[in-house]
Symmetry: C2
Subunit: 413 residues, 2 copies
């Protein structure tokens, strides 16, 4: 029998606004770089708030925070909820933060109702998701999942040459628990969409089924610099016209496999980039994403076929290489079902979707059953001080998180 | 009766190689910026060489050099031959220089043969054609033709803030003759093609009929930055895809009006130019050229129609403006005929053509009957230290220049 517990919308919004002061910017955003003084302040708040609720807080060796409320069965690994509290240099108040504070609100609702779960329940805050100060992104969830070693993490440097390990020590958050030595029963991550789909369709909740596979390519097209006035059209080897056709071809590949595919040329460098010189060399990047590896492979095949079909007939040479391949992630069906039911129980509109962006959940999915819940953000805007969501959207996300955790926990009786 | 005078190929090549030492670079090019110490050296050589031939050298107030050999009829204005002796920062040994040194060789051939022309004959070296040190290009021929004032020229500054007028004084080449107060009977300019057409067709001489009209535009396309992973294809406002279609449209306009038209996007700036951001703004330039103003106008109309047809349906906005309009120039038919006959007399292959690049002749054509003669350069390469022509090509050009001047002069008897 699953109780009808409710989160407190005002309390949730209050915590979001209060913690936004740690690194708050004049424009209403948040600058809270990993392991900065502001990061320490929000961590101190996290520890105090959850300790006061009766939770036990542990810190692992790469700065991940776990706040546990015991369950009836101490043998079970915990059901974890969370995300991250670090931000971009000109970040917003919700990216990552909603997933942690929403989980804190769920914990408060459970404690307030005196409800005892079967499994322990945890709120998790993963360290350095953004990767803005210390690249790469999702560093400490990656160590937790065995993707990176702790030593790799410790030696990452910011632009001033300060090391991740030293900065962990400086703010007092290098814990003793070995990273990953912390089995999870399940992991639920609430997050803002960071895209425009839910808003465009007027849906309140995104029920995530996975994360897109992503492949990045770098392509250089080589022709011949020439005087724009003195070189007839038929004698040109115009690298920019070749690149333009490829930009269109990449877009067409994305259109062909829509709505699930995206394909983008985001970066282009033209040489010599002078008004009166026919371009002799163009470098550009390609970003292909799709939830199915087989479709992603078909998209890659079409990209390569377009290169062959377009460039050599224009007397252009090219060099192409894949520089990153992040396989598609499928979330756990039993967790997805719990989110689905949780939305229906609360009466929100929903759509199934696949995340186009990376999240800690991508790595955690390697070591525990995982899923995510999305709520809309205004205009799809994120990584921006003007990132905005409405209080009722935050509340809806937290309520679904609570419902899903309760339903999942009920299966462990 | 026109005599069969011959230029001296070895003497011509010797002068080209000797003067290339003034500013010669390790790679075999020439760096001889306007009014530099190297420019003074080549001017001193010019004055000495032509004075030794019995010519009278005058310098006008903006540094143009005129070396005159009297004719039978002192009442006639001179027939002028020339080009420029300044180069690009990493220029070659022939761009401009061939037209001056070729004219010096013609003068030597005339003096050597003891042939007395009807009109005076002049070798002219125009100051600051390249515009590399002092923008704009063709500065002093422009003052000569009344396009710019001398004061405008004097106040042009190089990157160090040194003024054109002060540098004229520094190297001792600010003359007393008022610029333009120097009527010309006719003006012939020998030049390397700086394009690939003659080489491609295996022709020795280009008989020029004019200079292309040229119009330059700046276009900014505005869409919306968005996350490449989280933004479905149908919700994008991708400024780079819009720009790519415009790059293709510009190329198609050039193809449509080929072989005389050229149309080019040479410069593009993409924002934010990041691998995982859908581009929100793209700036690019358009360069349209054609020998007929009416066709050029049709090309411009098609450019504007393409903007309307392509961008708004993609939910993209744009801003377009013409930033330069250089009208087409038609050379003097009677001078073109003399060049034509001069080529036939020497037995070279030829083709009529229109210059796609600007030259001093563009401005001089406003104040005197003018034409040009082109010879091939290897691979069309110019404004480059590897710019190359063969000795026999230089000789062919100078011989045609001599033949044309003699035929034209014969009409003045």
């Amino acid at each position: 029998m699953i109780p009808n517990l409710q989160i407190d919308s005002e309390r949730l919004w209050g915590m979001l606004m209060d913690t936004a002061k740690f690194g708050g910017t004049p424009k209403g955003g948040v600058k809270r770089l990993t392991l900065s003084d502001e990061d320490k302040l929000v961590r101190d708040w996290f520890v105090a708030e959850l300790t006061a609720l009766g939770c036990t807080v542990t810190v692992d060796e790469v700065g991940n925070l776990f706040a546990r409320k015991p369950g009836k069965n101490p043998e079970l690994p915990p059901i974890a909820m969370g995300s991250h509290l670090d931000t971009q240099p000109t970040g917003g108040k919700f990216d990552g933060i909603l997933g942690v504070i929403g989980a804190v609100e769920v914990m408060k609702a459970l404690v307030g109702a005196g409800y005892e779960t079967n499994a322990p329940i945890e709120v998790v805050s993963w360290c350095n998701e953004e990767g803005s100060r210390f690249a790469p992104a999702m560093l400490a969830s990656g160590v937790f999942a065995g993707v990176f070693t702790p030593e790799y993490a410790y030696t990452r440097e910011d632009r001033q040459g300060l090391k991740f390990g030293d900065e962990l020590d400086r703010i007092g958050y290098r814990g003793t628990e070995k990273a990953g030595d912390h089995p999870l029963q399940a992991y639920f991550e609430l997050h803002i969409e960071q895209g425009p789909i839910l808003e465009d369709e007027g849906k309140v909740i995104g029920v995530l089924t996975g994360v897109q596979g992503m492949r990045w390519y770098e392509i250089t097209v080589t022709g011949q610099d020439a005087h724009t006035g003195a070189t007839p059209m038929r004698l040109r080897k115009n690298a920019l016209v070749g690149a333009a056709r490829m930009i269109e071809a990449v877009d067409a590949i994305g259109q062909k496999y829509s709505p699930d595919a995206v394909a983008t040329v985001g970066l282009i460098e033209n040489k010599p980039n002078s008004r009166n010189v026919v371009p002799g060399e163009v470098f550009f990047t390609v970003d292909l994403r799709h939830p199915e590896e087989s479709v992603l492979q078909a998209m890659e095949d079409e990209l390569r076929a377009a290169l062959v079909a377009i460039l050599p007939p224009m007397k252009l040479e090219y060099d192409e290489k894949m520089i990153w391949n992040s396989p598609a992630v499928k979330f756990a069906p039993e967790l997805i079902a719990c989110v689905d039911h949780g939305v229906d129980k609360a009466g929100y509109s929903k759509r199934r979707m696949v995340s186009g962006a990376g999240h800690d959940a991508v790595y955690i999915a390697r070591v525990a059953p995982t899923t995510m819940i999305f709520v809309p953000c205004e205009g799809g805007l994120s990584h921006n001080e003007y990132e905005t969501i409405q209080p009722e959207e935050a509340a809806a996300g937290a309520q679904v998180l609570l419902n899903a955790v309760l339903e999942y926990d009920a299966t462990l009786a």
